[in-house]
């Protein structure tokens, strides 16, 4: 017989049994809890190690700050939540029952001050008559100003459990996708049997289990399989599965969610059992598992009984008591009272006895029990109290005894330091309900069982209501065979392991009437049975109302030990059955998942990919300042030594373009190649302006609308050949335009012969702009090509070669108002071409310019861009009304004529300059008539784009002003209160440079 605390090698662990358990007794690990050092063994959880060391007080409750201990031995734990680790790795609310100990582990209790032992907030317990469910809704209303200032901050400080780290998470997270013919969720006896049956075919099998070791309750209960201890059978099966090439076992992996299409989310805790993750190894990994068939073998969770003081440390689920004894070799108490409504009381009595504890009594609420149970109790020397219930517990921070209400109506006290309770079992059906299936109530087993299962899912073991070991093996084997057959494999006959079927008889017992002290239903959220009565009284009877009003089931355990008891109590109060009362819906995740895991690598700098334009390296070498433009990092401006700010640099770049020549990387513009016999007709239906007449070798500015008549994008259309077009889009809309064109080609007009391919990344393209642009180009364009004004006029386009035979495309386009070209080469020559242009440009005084100067020059010319193409403007609004064809069908033609879109009162594009030329303009300012009050009624539009114009020597702006083009010469207010601005501006032509357009033609 094992006895606690006397063996060698257990150090000072007074409650460690001399033998038994699956921990590695050959090694000792040291950890601290609340600053005090303890020892444990590899294989321990923090909970089992604390129990081994005789620590029973582990936390304080959420609302009343009552002392709390360890209730369970698994992920359902509501009470024993700790802050694990320190500094940047501090993790709040970690369940001590699943955290594996490692050397150097640091854990602290939560939600107490100054210490766990002496928590001043326990004063809340005295106020508990006030702090009942829903009390906040009835109070804190007077005076209302105090809510944010006084009441709420106090409530917020008191609420919450642990403290999150205030530093960035230093660990890495990984993501993986896996495909399985058969996914088995749960590595208990049922899951192992299912995995084995499936694995003996060639099917791809994935087995996931949330624990570090497989075996589940069969091992926890110390049962026998095929005549040997269950863990030996588990080891054999595990060995076979591990060596099978078609099987992947994911330990420490929780399948947390069922998603559409046979997809399951799972999180693998790769390194949480280590002090620090190894170099290059993530802390956790998110698995997206796509399974043809899934065997859910998720087991069951034991229900507590609701009685007075059922939250006191030392009150534990009976199954957890067995787990601590059998799996961890620790004894949670020396003098135990077992309180139950089912036959598992017997195995708890036996396990305690075997471990050397005194079993004071078996308190069973049933008047009649089997002789077998009686025999076990008698052998253990336990008093058998039938038809009796525990009404309350004695003690403060640890239970010292219980009060019993006997069958004959007497009150009795029993001394004990452990209450092992069991109210029956709830199958872990959560993953069956995530897609909306409703569970069904089983009156014999007294639990909810899965309803209609998600496509491809089957059940094995306790989740199916097969609670006994023998049944889990039978059910697991057949579920595995059936699943693999359904996945298209010929099942191999697998012998079913033999195990006894213990009795699982159970009778209803949800709460003890007239409890002695507070009786908790949801221990973590401090919801008592009287809160449920209050909710009922106030009309919150619908189960969702109950949950929301009392916060029942909304804590970190999602009410796994609370919800069914609560429903049953509500059913009892309202005189309805449990199914009439309802069910609460489980939401993913099954257990909480670290946010970092869900993000994976895509965080901080790696949140989104960075797209680099072809000249990026050259620009970086030349001191460029870049700007994020969508995913692109575009050159913004190129400061030179001695320039005091960006404005000075930009002025210099603009001036260089206007007087000499500049080079700008415009590769980020969307580029689309279209070919096919009907391309002309196709483009004619996409663009609002006519394109049918565009000759080969020419390009044209074009605009396209959405079907609702609003401008979608603008750009150029170049005709390279009879049936070959090349268009550009704005940088922002490159993807959208291709999608739109594909939509039109494939869905609206499939009869048209047109092929569309995005060429944005295939071509590096540079604008070469300025009066000396042709001379510069002449240096690199191969001599065979005539680029004189006669041979290559404004809006010309041609396929040429440069730098001795490199194929290129030349477009004579300008957005600066100067003579300008765009030259494109295959992207792999982009870097070289930039270097060549910069080199060749030296003699002309050329400079590179970025998006800032680009923006200045387009504003100086009154060209629209992103701020004007904001998804709410019509062609007419931005001065392009004249381009819109009235003769043809095109996208947006019909709806563009709706009254609201042709209303002459709509704000329309016009130019602005400050009345006092020294003042700066700001886009986003709203226009008001000069003498108008600043009210919404007087709002006449807004400034869309502004720039300091070196050519004019003052700021210029473009904006949308009510009847703008009719108001040239008027003075209006540019009102910008959020930046303290209120500037008088003059309405002027939107073209600030070369209004006749002479320079562009050279």
């Amino acid at each position: 017989m094992a006895t606690p605390g006397q063996g060698s090698g257990t150090g000072s662990q007074p409650n460690r049994l001399e033998t038994g358990g699956l921990v590695d007794r050959s090694r000792i690990v040291r950890f601290t809890f609340d600053g005090k050092t303890y020892t444990g063994h590899p294989g321990d959880t923090l909970a089992s190690a604390l129990i081994a060391n005789g620590v029973s007080l582990t936390g304080r409750s959420f609302k009343y700050h009552r002392p709390r201990g360890i209730l369970s031995a698994g992920s359902e734990e509501p009470n024993a939540l700790v802050e694990l680790r320190e500094g940047a790795r501090r993790e709040p609310n970690t369940r001590a029952t699943v955290a594996e100990v490692f050397d150097g582990l640091v854990a602290r209790s939560q939600n107490r001050w100054p210490s766990l032992d002496f928590d001043v907030m326990a004063v809340n317990s005295l106020l508990s008559p006030i702090f009942v469910a829903g009390f906040y809704y009835k109070t804190f209303m007077w005076p209302s100003a105090l809510w944010e200032k006084l009441y709420e901050p106090a409530i917020r400080r008191a609420a919450g459990l642990g403290r999150a780290s205030d530093e960035a998470d230093p660990d890495t997270y990984d993501k993986a996708t896996a495909f399985a013919d058969v996914l088995v969720i749960g590595g208990g006896t049922a899951g192992l049997a299912a995995a084995l049956a499936a694995a003996r075919t060639n099917a791809r099998v994935i087995l996931v289990d949330e624990n570090a070791t497989l075996g589940g309750r069969g091992v926890d209960d110390g049962a026998d399989i095929n005549g040997n201890p269950a863990h030996e059978w588990v080891r054999t099966v595990e060995a076979e599965l591990s060596s099978a090439p078609n099987v992947r076992i994911l330990r420490r992996t929780t399948a947390f969610g069922t998603y559409d299409g046979g997809t399951y989310g799972a999180v693998e805790r790769v390194s949480d059992h280590l002090a620090v993750a190894a170099q290059g190894v993530p802390r956790q990994r998110l698995w997206r598992i796509v399974a043809k068939e899934t065997v859910l073998a998720s087991g069951a969770t034991e229900r507590p009984v609701v009685f007075g003081g059922n939250d006191r440390p030392g009150v534990m689920l009976a199954g957890a008591v067995r787990t601590y004894i059998n799996r961890f070799g620790v004894l949670p108490g020396r003098r135990a009272v077992v309180f139950t409504n089912n036959d598992y009381g017997a195995s708890t009595v036996a396990a305690l006895k075997r471990a050397g504890a005194e079993v004071v009594a078996l308190v069973d609420s049933r008047a009649q029990i089997s002789d077998e149970v009686k025999r076990i109790a008698s052998e253990a020397g336990a008093r058998l109290l039938l038809g009796a219930v525990v009404t309350g517990t004695l003690g403060k921070k640890r239970v010292t005894g219980v009060t019993i209400h006997t069958r004959t109506g007497e009150e009795e006290r029993l001394d004990c330091d452990l209450v092992a309770m069991s109210g029956g079992w709830n199958p872990n059906i959560q993953l069956t309900t995530h897609l909306g299936s409703k569970p069904t109530w089983n009156d014999k087993l007294l639990c909810f069982l899965p309803g209609t299962l998600p496509h491809g899912m089957s059940l094995a073991g306790a989740v199916a209501g097969d609670f006994t070991l023998g049944k889990t093996l039978v059910g697991g084997t057949s579920a595995g065979s059936a699943a693999v057959t359904a996945a298209g494999y010929a099942a191999v006959s697998v012998p079913v392991p033999k195990a006894a079927d213990e009795s699982d008889a159970v009778a209803p017992l949800w709460r003890v009437k007239s409890p002695n002290g507070k009786a908790f239903v949801d221990q973590q959220n401090d919801v008592t049975e009287s809160d449920i009565e209050l909710a009922e009284r106030e009309g919150f009877r619908a189960v969702e109302h109950l949950k929301r009003y009392t916060t029942l089931g909304m804590a970190t355990d999602q009410g796994r030990t609370a919800n069914v008891n609560a429903l049953a109590i509500m059913a009892e109060i309202t005189g309805r059955t449990i199914p009439q009362t309802g069910i609460t819906v489980a939401r993913p995740p099954y257990t909480p998942v670290s946010l970092g895991t869900l993000a994976g690598h895509h965080r901080e700098k790696h949140f989104k990919p960075t797209r680099l334009p072809p000249s990026y390296r050259w620009a970086k070498e030349n001191g460029c300042v870049f700007v994020e433009t969508g995913l692109w990092l575009r050159p913004s401006y190129f400061p030179r030594p001695g320039e005091k700010d960006w404005l000075e640099t930009v002025k210099r770049e603009v001036t260089t373009v206007r007087n000499a020549v500049g080079i700008c990387d415009v590769s980020t513009l969307g580029k689309v190649d279209l070919q096919g016999a009907d391309t002309a007709a196709f483009l004619d239906r996409i663009y609002m302006n006519g394109l049918k007449t565009l000759p080969i070798g020419k390009c044209r500015y074009g605009g396209m609308l959405r079907e609702d008549g609003i401008l979608m994008d603008d750009g150029t259309v170049a005709r390279l050949g009879e049936n070959h077009y090349f268009i550009t889009t704005t940088t922002a809309n490159a993807v959208k335009v291709v999608q739109h064109m594909e939509y039109c080609a494939q869905w609206l007009w499939p009869e048209l012969d047109v092929q569309i391919v995005s060429a944005t990344e295939q071509w590096a393209q540079y604008a070469v702009a300025g009066p000396k642009s042709r001379e510069l180009l002449q240096k690199i364009v191969d001599p065979a090509f005539d680029i004189t004004d006669a041979g290559f006029p404004y809006l010309g386009v041609g396929e040429i070669t440069v730098c001795g035979g490199i194929k290129a495309r030349l477009f004579r386009l300008s957005f600066s108002g100067e003579r300008a070209y765009e030259i494109g080469v295959p992207a792999r020559y982009g870097d070289a071409l930039m270097r060549r242009l910069a080199e060749a440009g030296k003699e002309f005084g050329a400079c590179a310019y970025g998006t800032e100067a680009l923006g200045v020059m387009r504003i100086e010319k009154g060209h629209i861009s992103g701020p004007e193409l904001n998804g709410t403007t019509t062609p007419r609004d931005v001065g392009l009304g004249g381009m819109v064809s009235t003769k043809k069908d095109f996208i947006g033609h019909v709806l563009g004529k709706r009254p609201g879109l042709v209303d002459p009162e709509r704000p329309a594009l016009i130019g602005f300059r400050p009345l006092d030329r020294s003042q700066r303009l700001r886009s986003g300012a709203h226009f008001l008539k000069r003498d108008a009050q600043a009210t919404a009624e007087n709002d006449e539009g807004y400034m869309t784009s502004v720039a300091y114009s070196p050519s004019n020597g003052h700021w210029v702006g473009l904006g949308l002003l009510k009847r703008g083009p009719e108001r040239i010469g008027e003075i209006v207010r540019a009102y910008d209160p959020v930046r303290g601005g209120d500037t008088l501006v003059e309405v002027v032509s939107p073209v600030f440079v070369d209004p006749e357009g002479v320079r562009v033609r050279g």
Binding site: E91, P92, N93, I130, V132, Y136, Y137, K138, T139, F140, M141, S144, W147, I155, G160, L161, A164, S165, D166, D169, Y259, L286, G436, S530, L534, A542, E544, H545, Y549, T556, P588, P592, V593, S594, L595, G596, L598, A599, R603, E604, K605, H606, F607, K608, E628, D708, P867, G871, R898, P899, G900, L901, S923, G924, A934, N938, Y942, Y975, V978, R979
Partner: protein, 419 residues
């Protein structure tokens, strides 16, 4: 049955007698044969409509019909944010009315829905975004709504723990509405229900409308799972079920139903005070009074009547979260769930008559329905009572798509899933 006024005294009195004196917050009403007004939908909007009808336009015999339990739609599954930081003149006055009603709500209802004005901060990450926020902030100020444009230093002071140093998209500043904040969402439904009940409104749960009864062009009542109920006027406020209910009246709406997911973390000690939205990714976050981080992102993107989303969007949202505030990495997601959004074609709501005389519609709330609850009820009540739109809701016409007066805040056009 006691329907006590909530006060410090009543709370203390009840705490001395085990809270046995509280009665139901609202009666379990049985349907009467007919009413002056029947509101279809016992969500926040329907209950608010009934309350304001009873309070300002009575006496009227009013019923709210709810197919399940009240407050079970979007008022019970949102991310609790209230704000009036809109851009367009069709929207700002409406949402500002809502904000003002929120500010007086606990006294109006005698119910503490925990309206908490801790600020809503929208971050900007580029000059273009800054100017767009300036335009919005200026529009708000012109409407008398509070708005402040913060530079990076001011944002840093307010929320120092954001990722200023190592972000993919640098934080340049933010648009702040200090009066914005959060509200305890379920309590809004319960507060309106209790207050409406006290004014005599019948709140009838488990009563699903199966059809509309007309005489000629006029509505005369509704067929329900609990029998026929006559009504002089019927108002639909059924959010995600709008298309389905409108179809019973022969209407096709400019609405698709889309799923939006929301998330809550485990409860932790105070971590973030107000509401912060990421301007370069799909992520916004606040912390509830109970300690959970409440956050969300973009629509899943596909039409759905299932109240659940899928994993790719979960990942997308948390990528945004970890980009913006990498210290949340070890906090755990407790639950995620989906709600059905009645996404209109321009992202703005509809409060209007229908072509059927006596039938009114309140729909198309997209994911902005919660913050709109008080004003939606207020204006819908006004419309039903007077047959004229309330001044701040007159842009929310059903025919605005035909006339070209869409109210498109985001400029996304007729693509409901992009608003």
């Amino acid at each position: 049955m006691s329907r006590a006024h909530y006060s410090i005294f009543s709370v203390l009195r009840e705490s001395l007698r085990g809270h046995t004196g509280w009665g139901p917050a609202w009666r379990e009403a049985e349907p009467k044969p007919d009413y002056d007004v029947v509101i279809v939908g016992g969500g926040g909007h329907g209950l608010a409509t009934a309350f304001y009808l009873a309070k300002h336009h009575g006496p009227l015999r009013i019923a709210v019909l709810e197919k399940g339990w009240i407050g079970g739609g979007n008022v019970g599954r949102n991310t609790t944010i209230v704000r009036s930081n809109y851009l367009l003149p069709g929207n700002i006055p409406f949402y500002e009315l809502s904000m003002q009603l929120w500010e007086g709500l606990e006294h109006e209802l005698n119910y503490n829905a925990m309206v908490s004005q801790r600020g809503v901060l929208n971050l900007y990450h580029s000059d273009g975004q800054r100017d767009a926020f300036a335009r919005r902030g200026n529009a708000m100020r012109l409407h008398g709504v509070d708005a402040e444009l913060l530079d990076q230093a001011a944002v840093r002071k307010m929320v120092p723990f954001l990722n200023f140093e190592n972000g993919r998209f640098p934080i340049h500043g933010g648009l702040l509405q200090r009066r914005g904040g959060t509200v305890r969402h379920d309590a809004v439904a319960w507060g309106y229900a209790r207050a409406a009940d006290r004014l005599g409104v019948d709140i009838i749960q488990n009563c699903e409308v199966k059809g509309f009864k007309r005489e000629g062009d006029r509505i005369v009542g509704v067929e329900t799972t609990r029998g026929y109920i006559g009504a002089k006027k019927v108002g639909m406020a059924v959010a995600g079920s709008s298309s389905r209910v409108a179809a019973m009246a022969g209407l096709r709406l400019p609405i698709e139903s889309h799923v939006l997911q929301a998330f809550v973390s485990e409860s932790i000690k105070p971590f973030i005070d107000g509401v912060v939205t990421f301007g370069a990714g799909h992520f916004y976050i606040s912390q509830s009074d109970k300690g959970g981080l409440v956050f969300g992102g973009d629509l899943d993107g596909y039409n759905s009547y299932a109240q659940r989303g899928n994993l790719p969007v979960v990942e997308d949202v948390l990528e945004g979260g970890m980009a913006l505030m990498p210290r949340i990495g070890r906090v755990r997601m407790l639950r995620h769930w989906g709600g059905i959004m009645d996404m209109s074609m321009d992202g703005s709501p509809i409060i209007d008559h229908t072509p059927v005389s006596g039938l009114y519609i309140n729909a198309g709330w997209c994911y902005g329905g919660f913050k709109a609850t008080p004003a939606s009820g207020f204006c819908f009540a006004h419309l039903i009572a007077h047959d004229q739109p309330h001044a701040v809701a007159k842009a929310y016409r059903l025919d605005r798509f035909a006339t070209g007066h869409a109210i498109d805040e985001k400029g996304m056009g007729p693509h409901p899933n992009l608003h």
